[in-house]
Symmetry: C2
Amino acid sequence: MADKSEQSAAASGLPTVRTISEVAGVSPSTVSRALKGDPRISEKTRAAVAAIAQQQGYTPNAMARGLVTRSSGVVGIVLGNLENPFYGELVERLHSRLVEIGKYPMLLHIGGETLDSEAIKPIRQYQMDGCIITAARLSSRAAETCANHRLPMVMINRVARIHSCTVSCDNYAGGMLAGELLLEAEHRRVAFIAGREDTSTSEDRESGLLCVLRKAQLTLAGRARGHYTYDGGFAAAQELLAADPRPDAIFAANDIMALGAIDAIREAGLGVPDDLSVIGFDDIRPTRWHNYRLTTIAQPVEAMITRSIELLSERMASPDLSGESISIKGEMKLRESVRLPAGFPANASPA
Amino acid sequence: MADKSEQSAAASGLPTVRTISEVAGVSPSTVSRALKGDPRISEKTRAAVAAIAQQQGYTPNAMARGLVTRSSGVVGIVLGNLENPFYGELVERLHSRLVEIGKYPMLLHIGGETLDSEAIKPIRQYQMDGCIITAARLSSRAAETCANHRLPMVMINRVARIHSCTVSCDNYAGGMLAGELLLEAEHRRVAFIAGREDTSTSEDRESGLLCVLRKAQLTLAGRARGHYTYDGGFAAAQELLAADPRPDAIFAANDIMALGAIDAIREAGLGVPDDLSVIGFDDIRPTRWHNYRLTTIAQPVEAMITRSIELLSERMASPDLSGESISIKGEMKLRESVRLPAGFPANASPA
DNA sequence: GATTCTAGTGCAATCGTGTGCGCGAACTGC
DNA sequence: GCAGTTCGCGCACACGATTGCACTAGAATC
């Protein structure tokens, strides 16, 4: 017995259940149960074990535990392009919420490209409990792997092409909000800067805008692609400005492109919002910078994360729950890149 | 035998070494060795095992492996405030380099605050192989924990208060570069916007600047704190502009603050670089935005990451290597926020 | 042809934790 | 006082991969 204890101590130097059990004079299983609060263990034993564990600085080995419970406590995270501050904010909050529920996030992938099966290998290697995906599309093989593995998965701002959960901002309603504001500000030549080809977010935001325009018997005064980047937005705005007559308002599918558009408009010698109004989507930090003061539709990040964690937790507890899609309304943030409608109260939000 | 195989298959559905071994008609140990390329296994057996593993879609269980090898393949990552795009860029590249060497990054902490011992718990739980820390300070207890654990650790842009490795930009030389450029541009009233109180990066950049000024028999024309944020830089610039005579150039300890400063200067009705030159540090994406075109000292991110991974790899292989500090020179990026020195070639870099 | 050597493989223990089942003691009820 | 129940705990195995050592078969040597 003493030999065994010395062996394990020599092996890693860190206390294990056996270390604790020998000090406490009980069996390893009792230690394990005591620390998990198993009701079969007497309160007296429990307290004694807990005290010794505390004093020895015991921390359970997550790998050993994961091996037998088949639950590693690890959640995979796939991030979009971090040049867009939106994802930075997202991952920061996601991280703390995951830690709160006792899970730790492992980075699977960063960047916008399609997620291939190589990138999701660690999901199987580490027997991940779940996965949160933002702004990337799974390759068909990768999706298949996830499905076979019955991996609880939540996609943020992505439509589900496979059986899974999604949480997104109500992009269609957001597009409508933007359109309504621009119409109230008496704009009639509204142009749109789209994101990437394959993203439903950009499409939905555009559809919302179009719906509102149609009701007012208007059509789009211009349309260009901005690839969700500043440079893309800049170039797209230049393209739109070349039209004759030029648009009097631009709605960009996200903030980064809107900022690019503002700079392009100004570089063309025009003023925002004097000559053109610009409205974005996301409400990232730089929209508040004094140079921009961009009016935008804020994504309800807090609510989206709360729901994502809920959906994920539920499915980690019962993997057979069916897929669910949640859509949350965004909120208009009125700043100074849109000409205010006549007699419009500065601090009110349009319905 | 058949029973056992069916049991393990039923347990998880995924192939294990045993599954492979039974199909191949060899023992699990042979499978393990064959897949690791052990020279004792004949080429014929190796190929057969590899083929079956491939066909069955076998992926080794990292937790089981980690349990016995005491190496989890996980590397902890501590990130600074992701509102600063610098860290976004950093983590994106760190991630891909880590994956290249077969390690996976787990997020330990995001944000600028001191790292307490709660946040680094997963290091022990998951028996992490190493840790990369950017822009956060360890609490004394956390540092002690790392030291006891002999955790290979590399800090990026942080001075080591404990026995470990650091990789940083040569902040002092960078400060000198900035100072020299401003003097060549015939500025004589140079002000500085500092970062947070406790950061050596800000201090070193300031010292470099001061050294150059001193040589030219000048002193700082102003100094304010910007807390490494846009708003902080904005407010700091306002404070500096209130001085009489006001500075004719501002060096900010990082780009985000420099951008805030530019906006403050313009909001005060002054021009950049006509009335004041502004220079930053980091070379984040927004410095290239058309509205700013900020001259800055670029951190050698690629080189810094390469060295960090090297240091970490070496120490994961031999944990007893002693601490090492590497400092890499940054590079001046000439843009338009600094008035060009008379007769200064636009595309040359100052010595 | 016997012996030594080597290449190739299998056995069994191990890492640290969780858990089904069994066992003894105490307690209850009549 | 005895049977049945409950309570508290330990035994032993499992999870999936790695690895030291033993073992076998064939080759090489004398």
